[in-house]
């Protein structure tokens, strides 16, 4: 045990002391929200640089009726050919051509005759915007001509949204929130995936470094290979947990600082910026709503399970990464063994889409039992509520799973670390596994 601890300590301290660790640990919690904010900002403020669009309206219905603020419309009154020429010369985004239409005679009207000219392929959103503009105007005109009262039309429209409830065995109905559950499930599943990937590679790199620097035989004359491997897996894992904890603390701090700032003077400033009709009461309502939504998912269960699956998945895959690192002489050689190991993780990630659609399907339940996919899939299922027996069974399988992979990896590792220049394929690895040492 003392030996494992010494190895663990070295792996931990050499990593934590690195500048790159410090940078990643401090910057990522800052960069991550910044990037998300940036994307949201860019997405919502795209219209700032409003694109110029020419409109050639031969029907006469549309004069000044284009209203989407994302674009600046200029109406032309030339022929189509002249308009095209002008469009070519000027630096504008596009040209909308609305031919003459006869709204009274449906047989003569072909709505597909409307055209949009542009120099590059227009985005989906732009096409939808323009189609929407034209459709709205034509509908309004037709409604007007039909003589129907718009109020009657509006009163005919019905908007439906299903509220979903979890009905427990005791008959107690609890409101559930599918979107939030999906989001939470996806985030946790993805976190585990990232962690396996980043820290698994680090274990492999570490094993490979010891092999290529030829220090490994010096080390194994003092430490059993298994102790060396376990010390490494635990040490790198401890680095990961440290990083995760720092991130959580930083993010919570930033979050609460942000909330306090908003709650104080910021709140008034913000409500001033909000569109008319949204006032303080609504803000509080929103906060209460968020609170209510959080109540619909089993937070405590998710946090505890996350820690469990997080570590379980790490041990399971970390050991395999260590085995690969021991078998090869260089990172390039490692590639061929990486794919089969990454495959179950990738299956887990891809299956998330289907699992989130139906978290209680046979496929979802099966994948959440198999140790290679369970950390990702079970984490995604948890926010939807999972029967306790399933959760416990899955955890038990995961424990058996990582004990199994550590055992297998240990047997390959003890031989692999002393083999140089061997041509390694799956057959040789199988041979090392069965070899008596």
């Amino acid at each position: 045990m003392k030996q494992i601890f010494l190895v663990l300590k070295r792996e931990y301290t050499t990593r934590v002391k690195k500048k790159s660790f410090l940078l990643a640990t401090i910057l990522i919690p800052l960069i991550f929200p910044a990037v998300i904010f940036g994307i949201v900002y860019l997405g919502t403020n795209d219209g700032d640089s409003s694109k110029e669009v020419y409109v050639l309206d031969e029907s006469g219905y549309f004069q000044d009726s284009f209203s989407n603020t994302g674009y600046a419309y200029t109406f032309l009154s030339s022929s189509l050919d002249e308009a095209k020429e002008k469009f070519q010369e000027d630096d504008v985004y596009g040209l909308i051509h609305i031919p003459e239409i006869d709204l009274d005679d449906a047989s003569k009207t072909r709505y597909s005759d409307f055209s949009f000219y542009s120099k590059t392929n227009p985005g989906n959103q732009a096409m939808k915007d323009f189609e929407g503009e034209i459709k709205r105007k034509l509908e309004a005109v037709k409604l007007d001509r039909s003589g129907l009262d718009p109020a009657v039309i509006n009163s005919l429209k019905v908007s439906v949204s299903l509220s979903s409830f979890n009905l427990s065995e005791s008959g107690e109905a609890k409101e559930s929130n599918t979107d939030l559950s999906s989001a939470v499930g996806y985030v946790f599943g993805f976190l585990i995936y990232m962690f396996i990937f980043i820290y698994g590679s680090q274990i492999m790199q570490s094993v490979l470094d010891e092999k290529t620097s030829r220090i490994v035989e010096v080390i194994v004359s003092s430490v059993r290979p298994f102790q060396l491997m376990m010390g490494k897996v635990l040490g790198v894992g401890a680095v990961g947990v440290t990083q995760l904890l720092i991130w959580i603390v930083l993010m919570v701090t930033l979050f609460s600082v942000g909330i306090t700032a908003l709650g104080g003077s910021g709140m008034e400033a913000m409500s001033g910026q909000m569109p008319a009709g949204v006032d303080m009461t609504q803000n509080q309502e929103m906060a209460a709503n968020i609170q209510g939504m959080l109540d619909t998912i089993p937070v405590a269960q998710i946090v505890v399970s996350f820690l469990f699956y997080f570590l379980g998945a790490y041990f399971l895959y970390g050991a395999l990464y260590a085995a690969i690192g021991s078998a090869v002489d260089s990172m390039q050689d490692a590639q061929q063994f990486m794919l089969p190991i990454m495959l179950p993780i990738i299956v887990g990630i891809i299956s998330l889409t289907f699992v989130l659609q139906d978290p209680h399907s046979t496929m979802a339940v099966t994948l959440s039992m198999i140790p290679f996919t369970s950390p990702i899939v079970m984490m995604a299922r948890l926010p939807f509520g999972v029967p306790t027996w399933q959760l416990l069974l899955s955890m038990a399988f995961l424990v058996l799973g990582f004990i199994g992979t550590i055992w297998v990896a240990g047997r390959v590792y003890r031989v692999g670390i002393l083999m140089y220049g061997a041509k390694v394929n799956w057959k040789t690895i199988a041979k090392w596994f069965t070899m008596k040492v």
Binding site: Q3, R214, V218, I219, R224, K431, M435
Partner: protein, 304 residues
Amino acid sequence: MNILEANHISKSYAEHRALNDVSISIPKQSIFGLLGPNGAGKTTLIRIINQIIMADEGEVLINGEKLNPRHVEIIGYLPEERGLYKKMKVGEQLMYLAQLKGMSKSEAKTKIKKWLDKLSLTEWAGQKVEDLSKGMAQKIQFIATVIHEPQLLILDEPFSGFDPVNANLIKDEILELRDKGATIIFSTHRMESVEQLCEHIAMINKSEKILDGTKKEIKNSFRSDKYKVEYKGDFSGLGAEYELLDTKHLEDGFYEAIIQSKNGHNPNHLLSQLIAKTEVHSFVEVIPSVNDIFISIVEGGNKR
């Protein structure tokens, strides 16, 4: 008293038999040469002693006690494939390796300082190994091997990769350690490199021990009663008791001859005969080198 006894060790890998019924005993405070060509099984035997791998058959005793995990603390091992953590600082690295050998932190600290001083490396303690010259890294490697004052020092191809200056320095340090009570095993295929150092020798070829004993005994048993003589003025007619194997004309009337004695007379008998016939400038018994002995055994084995 033997510090190490290996009894009937056998070890096989898949289809290859690496060691076949090999036994050696190594007396305390001796320098023991484990000799043999590449691939003979030396490293396998050493790895078994270091508990890196386990023998299929046979047992190893250290100080009369069956090999167990505590023994790693009294063995210092310099493997043929050796290196250091490139990104780790010299001082931290030695501390880590010393602690793995069971030393306490304070004890290791004193010893590291002592050794760095001795090999004038103190100012490099805070440097990373990758910033050191190759020669300095080799010295650090050696310190890492002996830092815990091992009773048994196992050096696998110790002088390969060491430059001649360091090789000599290391040799001196090794002799000093021996004088302080350590036992040293040299394993090498370059037999001439350790010939003058070793007191005991075991030879391994093709997984089997083919020779074992003190260097003196072995050399004696391989004496062939041949003498090399340098003399001035040609002569002839030594009689039936001697055979002239080879003569060479050197220069200025000097000659060199190899003479085989056929009936076990002592050297004086030959010398007196020679003196009567010519002017003797040098007279020496031809004693085979360890390398010669090895070759003659292997070739003899092939003939069988």
